[in-house]
């Protein structure tokens, strides 16, 4: 089972002398967790030393989160043993794990949005004066922790008014407040700007210096290399190796993760700029809560290009997607598509004009889970598959069979419910449907989120080929690497405004990062 432990090695500069004496804080032995149809953990051995930052790396579905949920008491393992601080433990609930000194910050935060940070941190905690709340005591303790690790939050602010980064800091403080010895962070950077990520990494390093142990779950190679001391790689539910970070590299990690050599980047030729296909002129739109989410967007997408839209999630990307698709009302401004004003047109007319979309919420918006695969393949085109109001089932089936073949959708039959497909196949289904009507513009919103490396490769290649046919792609993504790799031009959105549009050559992560956090670029 994997190339087991390498000898203890040194890591982060100053820690070097202590390194050799570190004891093992956590040992998970031969963990097996079976879900119906899937072996999520297949005899995983995982060992973490006190005071280290240990990366847990793997593709989506490799079993990282399952392994940590077993540790945190959310799942009972079907087999295997857990030793924490030398003792054999069995956690029946997160409560047990917290008591033992294990904290976890989930990918989706578990905060009460209408309560203040302070109350969220105290939620469920008994202060010394219990049953009375001792806010003074709590506040001074939290402030001490804040200072110690450099994690600042405004304790009296409500969660709802906080940025995602700040909410994450509240979650971390919540764990620290409970005297954790081991802190698990599940994909913590997926919602952060580059600057916030830097800040998080600094805090993690300080925690490690203070003797706290951190498990850092990620699928991003670069981050694992940047912040961890050691890395354990999971593949298909098995541990395939534990490496000392400073002795490894991106290539080796990618090979371990995927099990074969992978092309880390895709060739994309810079396109020759052609005429504008879609132009947004001073577009305003509200979000679901009735607040202005788009504040005067001006943006042009040209034929033959991929225009990347970078930004931290929640800055208006979703609203922009919906405004172009036609499911969200434009308050002010115009949309010109292919020389035609489409501001007042409905969704169906826009589909007919050639606007396709891979939506951000694939399952919530992109498909009807209880309908069959073939029905989902005509979900946005079904009027074209009917004559005088009656559905043409023969044509629907032929259409489905063609697309399943062409796009390699893995399904036992076109008649099975679409909800039974895997995430990657659902994405293929949506891409197949959206490309099948031969559109002019494709909006691709987080198109590779949650896909495995092979799936990502596939989707990216499709987007590139599509743009090379003289059509346009609006690529909305939180993954800066993806944006940098695929885009001809990069627009950055911040609080509903386009802060700048950079040509591919002049863009670098630093410039984009500044724009993403609302800064301005100095004129050169």
């Amino acid at each position: 089972m994997g190339e087991s432990m390498e000898p203890m090695g040194a890591s982060m500069g100053a820690m070097e002398s202590m390194e050799a004496n570190r004891d093992t804080i956590l040992e998970m032995k031969d963990i097996v967790k079976v879900f119906p149809g899937v072996v999520a953990n297949d005899g995983v051995n995982f060992s973490v030393k006190r005071g280290e930052i240990h990366g847990l790396l793997g593709e989506n579905g490799a079993g990282k989160t399952t392994l940590m949920s077993v540790l945190y008491g959310l799942y009972k393992p079907d087999n295997g043993e857990i030793f924490f601080e030398g003792k054999r433990v069995e956690f029946n609930s997160p409560g047990d794990a917290i008591k033992a000194g294990i904290g976890m910050v989930h990918q989706h935060f578990m905060l009460v949005s209408k309560m203040t940070a302070l109350n969220n941190i105290l939620l469920g905690y008994r202060t010394p004066k219990d049953p009375m709340m001792d806010y003074e005591w709590a506040r001074s303790r939290i402030e001490e922790l804040s200072k110690m690790y450099g994690i600042e939050v405004n304790l009296d602010e409500k969660i709802i008014n906080m940025s995602v980064g700040e909410q994450q800091r509240v979650e971390i403080l919540k764990a620290l407040f409970r005297d954790v010895k081991l802190l698990i962070l599940d994909e913590p950077t997926s919602v952060l700007t580059p600057a916030e990520t830097e800040r998080l990494f600094k805090a993690l390093k300080r925690m490690s210096a203070e003797g706290l142990t951190v498990i850092f779950i990620t699928h991003k190679l670069r981050e694992a290399l940047e912040v961890t001391d050691r890395i354990t790689v999971l593949r298909k539910g098995k541990d395939v190796g534990t490496l000392i970070t400073k002795n490894t590299n991106e290539r080796e990690l990618a090979r371990l993760m995927v099990g074969r050599e992978v092309e880390v980047s895709i060739e994309k030729k810079k396109s020759a700029a052609k005429e504008v296909l879609l132009r947004l002129e001073n577009v305003y739109a509200k979000n679901d809560r009735g607040l202005l989410a788009l504040k005067g967007i001006n943006l042009s997408i040209r034929r033959g290009e991929i225009l990347g839209l970078a930004g931290v999630s929640g800055n208006g990307q979703k609203e922009l997607e919906e405004v172009i698709v036609g499911t969200r009302k434009v308050e002010k401004g115009r949309l010109i598509f292919n020389g035609k004003d489409i501001t007042g047109l409905g969704v169906r007319k826009r589909i007919a004009l050639g606007i396709s979309c891979i939506p951000e919420d694939r399952i919530e918006t992109g498909m009807a889970p209880s309908l069959s695969v073939e029905e989902n393949l005509i979900l946005r085109d079904f009027p074209n598959f009917s004559k005088n109001g009656f559905m043409d089932f023969g044509q629907i089936e032929a259409h489905a069979e063609r697309l399943i073949e062409e796009f390699g959708i893995k399904t036992p039959s076109p008649k099975v419910e679409a909800r039974t497909l895997s995430g990657g196949n659902i994405q293929r289904l949506i891409i197949a449907r959206e490309l099948s009507r031969n559109p002019l513009l494709l909006i691709a919103s987080q198109p590779t989120r949650g896909l495995d490396v092979a799936g990502i490769e596939y989707v990216r290649k499709r987007l590139v080929t599509f743009s090379e046919e003289g059509k346009a792609v609006l690529l909305i993504s939180e993954d800066l690497e993806e944006i940098m790799q695929l885009s001809d031009r990069i627009a950055v959105i911040y609080e509903g405004e386009i802060k700048g549009v950079l040509e591919r050559e002049e863009a670098d992560p630093e410039k984009i990062g500044i724009l993403m956090s609302g800064g301005e670029l100095e004129e050169t």
Partner: protein, 353 residues
């Protein structure tokens, strides 16, 4: 030994057949226990039910007469159900249809136009009654379960008010009845029984709705809205329009059921036009999983209960309310059975393979 509850990845089709049948069997068992408790042999009681319904020409035609309005209310619940809506208001829509048809029957002329007008007014009244919850749901997301349910009481009391007051007949003494309808306002009957032409109409309506839901693009759009309203919007199908139209069609069918009951059976407007057919439509639609053809089958089951229920009353003195108990049990078992479509339970030792 260990009992494990696991999420299903795929639901075997057979589950969808087993659940309704098991729900019916379990309900029969429970009602059987109730019967035992009041000192009646359940086998005897169920036997009487069956012989009454199938033993005589009268029983058999009564079965059709009772099943017909249940087919219609079952459809009235099924159509909105496919769009993801609970129409608990078929009872009220039925009463409004009955009222509108009676009004035409008693006060309209010329005679030749009266029956067609009764049908049209019945449909429209049911529609109007269903439109209120439909529009409120579509525009303001008001819970349709509550609005449809409450409107039932309004409709039932409205009809009661009429038959005790303004529409009470001149020759009915103190009964809460209107006058008998004139002959030209009565649906033709066959075989010297109460088997009226409305029964045949009910079957035709079920088939038409079957085609509408299963074969047309409108039916497809309804299904998409029911499966995922956001996906429907994304596909350019207006959720609002589909919600309102599904409620309108459902209401129209329930309204027709009301017209049929007064014109085919009671021959007048009266209090208690329906013994709760509108509510019976709910378990019928659930058993049929919204499929109009299965609605017919399920409606016959409940028709049998209504026919048999009155037989049990006359033979054993059991209140007809036992039918309501049965209905409620079926609903509970089906909703409970839904668990098994999503989870499976395995009993056995540890599986450490």
């Amino acid at each position: 030994m260990q009992i494990k509850i696991e999420r299903r990845l795929e639901t075997p089709k057979i589950i969808y057949v087993i659940i309704p049948i098991a729900s019916i069997v379990a309900s029969l068992l429970f009602v059987g226990i109730l019967l035992l408790a009041i000192g009646v042999n359940p086998f005897e009681a169920y036997g009487v039910m069956l012989t009454r319904a199938f033993g005589t020409k009268f029983g058999l035609t009564e079965l059709f007469v009772k099943a017909a309005p249940i087919i219609l209310t079952g459809l009235a619940v099924s159509i909105p159900l496919r769009a993801g809506l609970w129409n608990i208001g078929a009872e009220g829509q039925l009463y409004m249809g009955a009222f509108a048809a009676s009004w035409v029957a008693l006060y309209f002329s010329p005679p030749s136009a009266v029956l067609p007008l009764m049908v049209i007014f019945g449909l429209l009244a049911g529609m109007a009654w269903a439109s209120v919850p439909g529009i409120l749901k579509a525009k303001f997301d008001l819970n349709e379960i509550i609005s449809t349910l409450l409107l039932n009481y309004v409709a039932i009391y409205w009809v009661e008010y009429l038959v005790y007051g303004p529409m009470r007949g001149k020759e009915v003494y103190n009964f809460p009845y209107s006058d008998l309808f004139p002959d030209y306002a009565i649906l033709p009957r066959f075989l010297g029984t109460r088997f009226h032409v409305g029964v045949i109409a009910s079957f035709i309506i079920a088939l038409v709705i079957y085609i509408l839901l299963k074969k047309t693009s409108y039916g497809f759009a309804i299904k998409v809205v029911g499966s995922n309203p956001k996906a429907a919007e994304f596909a350019g199908t207006s959720r609002e329009k589909m919600i309102i139209s599904a409620m309108l069609i459902g209401g129209a069918i329930a309204g027709f059921a009301g017209m049929m009951e007064v014109s085919g059976l009671h021959l007048r407007l009266r209090a208690a036009v329906s013994p709760g057919y509108g509510y019976t439509g709910i378990p019928v639609a659930l058993l049929a999983r919204g499929n109009p053809v299965f609605v017919i089958a399920a409606a016959f089951l409940f028709g049998l209960l209504y026919v048999g229920g009155s037989a049990m009353q006359t033979t054993f003195g059991i209140p007809v309310a036992i039918v309501d108990v049965f209905q409620a049990l079926v609903v509970l078992f089906i909703i409970g059975g839904d668990f098994f479509t999503r989870y499976r339970i395995s009993i056995g030792g540890d599986r450490n393979d």
